[in-house]
């Protein structure tokens, strides 16, 4: 019996082996998609055509114009000796298509590209302002990117000012792949305070499931480069309501405790002093006595080192130093006030973490006013916000003065 069993098992195994290998796709046959840009279609030709062909077809509320950036690995290899099928020397290929479902569009690429799109190396997703502002665009577009087991939750998400397609089509000088170029810029927020920290698609999912407003980093395309600075504001219905400028983003980073680095400029006496931020901390004190009129105080503590001092002052003098610290603190307060004016008064969206603070520290109150915070009675708009900043200068650099006072 034993021998027969062995025979059957080996027969079965060889059958598996012979007929197997269902999922084998050679690595060079995959089309690695590293970047996706989602736009709203410019004209409605395609939609009308689809309408005519099949009027009964189910339709989504928003149509998307999707650009996939696919890597051509042969083009990445340095040097001219390309043995492969690469005909041009480009390292990537942008494929554009249109449809009302992102998955449909990605499958549609199969009809045009010899390599099947493969999304596990997707680095960035860029949504155009228009999609973000439309009522169903953003949430719908992001669904497949979260649902697909293929997609990773660490893909970075940006909102482009203008067309997303233009962003992904920049031709950077330093990198061969625009998407990787954008990807690495996105990680530079430890050097500038004007950039929001990276929002990965997993974080976006978190925000979409929360009832708060949120921000996403803004990206702007120029000819040969892109700029990631500023922020796109989304209200609690996940519709984009506006942009924050670069300075306002700096304030926002202070208010949301997301400063990783960057600089502060302040005018002291006659000329500028520049502080390199090495760390900042924020805490919120809430006065919850009056539910209709909540009072919040932001306490921001920031430390840094003097990098430039144009006005020749004695930095080793204690009084001078204290005044200098005060000047920087005032600058922080100004930045924050500007931001608050925009997100609190002009477009009431709670992107500065107040609701979340109430939820965490005043859970009973929060249960009460949850539905009246940004919507309903709009208690957020009725609250009062104060900012108090404190700066500590830890280091003045290698010299006290560069030249003697004029």
């Amino acid at each position: 019996m034993g021998k027969k069993l062995r025979l059957y098992v080996s027969m079965l195994l060889s059958t598996i082996l012979v007929s197997g290998c269902w999922d084998q796709v050679q690595i060079e046959e995959r089309g690695f998609v590293v970047g996706v840009a989602v736009d709203a279609p410019r004209n409605e030709n395609a939609e009308e055509q689809a309408e005519q062909e099949a009027p009964e077809k189910p339709k989504g509320k928003q149509r998307f114009l999707v650009t996939n950036q696919m890597v051509i690995p042969g083009g990445l290899v340095a040097g001219g000796q390309s043995t492969g099928q690469n005909t041009t020397n480009e390292a990537y290929l942008n494929i554009v298509s249109e449809g009302d479902s992102l998955f449909e569009v990605s499958r549609e690429f199969a009809t045009r590209a010899s390599r099947t799109p493969f999304y596990q190396h997707l680095k960035i997703i860029i949504f155009s302002e228009e999609i973000a502002r439309s009522k169903n665009g953003f949430g719908n577009a992001i669904d497949v990117l979260l649902r697909d087991p293929d997609a990773r939750r660490s893909t970075k998400v940006f909102i482009s000012k203008g067309d997303a397609k233009n962003v992904i089509e920049v031709k950077p000088k330093t990198e061969k792949l625009p998407s990787l170029y954008i990807n690495s810029i996105g990680e530079n927020n430890d050097r500038t305070a004007r950039m929001l920290p990276v929002m990965r698609i997993g974080d976006v999912h978190e925000q979409l499931l929360n009832q708060f407003s949120f921000t996403l980093p803004r990206i702007t395309a120029e000819k040969q480069e892109v700029k990631i600075a500023g922020a796109a504001l989304f209200n609690s219905d996940h519709i984009m309501v506006g942009f924050l400028g670069e300075e306002e983003t700096e304030g926002l980073n202070f208010l949301t405790n997301q400063i990783k680095g960057g600089l502060l400029k302040a005018k002291f006496k006659e000329d500028l002093g520049v502080l390199s931020i090495t760390g900042a901390k924020r805490s919120i004190v809430a006065d919850t006595r009056n539910k209709e009129h909540l009072k919040f105080t932001y306490q921001i503590e920031c430390e840094g080192a003097i990098m430039e001092s144009f006005d020749q002052i004695d930095l080793l003098n204690k009084q001078v130093m204290e005044k200098l610290q005060l000047a920087f603190a005032n600058e922080i307060e100004r930045l924050c006030r500007d931001t608050i004016t925009k997100v609190h008064k002009q477009l009431p969206v709670d992107v500065i973490g107040l609701g979340s603070h109430l939820k965490q520290y005043h859970k009973d109150l929060w249960k009460d006013i949850k539905n009246d915070w940004e919507k309903g009675k709009r208690l957020y708009g009725k609250s009062e916000i104060k900012v108090v900043a404190q700066v500590y200068i830890r280091n003045i650099g290698g010299i006290n003065r560069a030249e003697l006072g004029r």
């Binding site: 069993l5 690695f32 890597v71 190396h121």
Partner: protein, 525 residues
Amino acid sequence: MLRRILAQHRRQKASSSELPRQEAAQPISLSLSSNLQENLETIKTLLGNSHDLLTRSFFIGNTQHSCAVVCIDGLANSAMVHEQILANIQLMISTAEKTVPDDPEEILSLLFEEVLSVIEIKKESDFQSMLDCVLSGDTALLIDGTNQVIVIDSKGWATRAVEEPAAEGLVRGPRDGFTESIRDNTVRIRRRVKDYHLRFDGSIVGERSKTDLVVAYIDNIVDKELLDEVKRRLATIDIDEVEESGFIEQWIEDDFLSPFPQIHSTERPDKVAASLFQGRIAILLDGTPVVLILPVTFGLFLHSPEDYYERWIVGTLARLLRYIASFLAVFSPSFYIALVTFHPGLIPSDLAFSIAATRDGVPFPAFLEAILMVTTMELLQEAGLRLPKPLGQTVGIVGGLVIGDAAVSAGIVSPVMVIVVALTAIASFAIPSYQLAIAFRMIRFFAMFTAAVFGVYGVILSFIVIMIHLSNLTSIGYPYLSPFAPQMPRDWKDLILRAPITFLRKRPKALHTQDETRMRTGDQS
């Protein structure tokens, strides 16, 4: 269970189906006659007048009693036969002025007791036992008129000089190795183990080859049940010839279907001595420098004597490296297949793109590519092994550099594949035991097949299957995977880790030794 049936089946078959052989090997029941000439004729007939048979008839001293010596040319030490036997009998009797008795029986006892100054000497009366001794190098002295024969130990044939074992070289450690002579080998062990509890239990295996076999152990350390079991298994050996200890190994191992070696073999006396002290048993066989050590565990194959000779940090790191090497040796081609054809998402983006770029234009799927390269490597290894040393290196260079480089530039394989195969080869050379390295080579193909069908899932399934097999495997009844499973935390000190010498107070628990302690000083318990 299934396996046991098969093993039994094999043994039964071996003993039942070859009846004619047994008849041929039937012992000669002839007794010696008292006629010398007749006896010599019989010997010549029995040995078929063999070319190397030496017989010399002569008279004892100055008497007329004729006698003869019989030995095999080359096997017997001819100087010794001359000086101790011929000269003694012919000259000493006359110079010592002994009166030679008339009775042949008395002559025999005189020679036996007084004349022959040789340490090993005995009397035999039948052809079988006499020939057995003669054929293993002794000299027979036949005396006319008696039906007894004196057998004198005169073994002395040309042996190889003691050399360092080629396959088990060390940077630090003794340079001697075993040779083909069992006596030399027992000497090597005895030189290291001067404990009077050391036992060499001798026996003869092989119906026709009559090979000497010695079971070595230290009497008051070894587990008695283990010893009984080993002896029981050795007793079942029923085969005409035993050329090498591999015959013994294959006969007494637990599972003949397993690719894994269940008995360790070595040419290093220091390793054998250390194993004996641990409570293991060594089996020495005449005619081969390879000594068997048993029982073994999986971990033992990844140990090298050097681990103990070097300081413990070095030893530990070397062992860690070997465990990694064995993993790489088995699984790196299959991981390459799985990652490249199934899960390129797992590879870091930049690496994935560059692998894709290098594979651009390669006509074979990664699996075929891997099979092609791994098989080529096996061929090279086998070819290099058989050729004389200088030629072997040439093969290595031609194979490794020329074929590898040419295959890449011809676009048949990708450079990454070459790296993976090279890594696999290097990793398998880093495994100290050649036996285990061969096992890994076989398993490598199995893992590659599963990887080709199921990707990483297949690799993990093949890993599980190997683990199931290892967990079921035993070496002379001892669990192969101990002390991993069954867990014996005490033995972990000398497993992947090689704890400082002073920490290794106890012998391996897995071996159930009678005397567990190695170090008595400072031992509070």
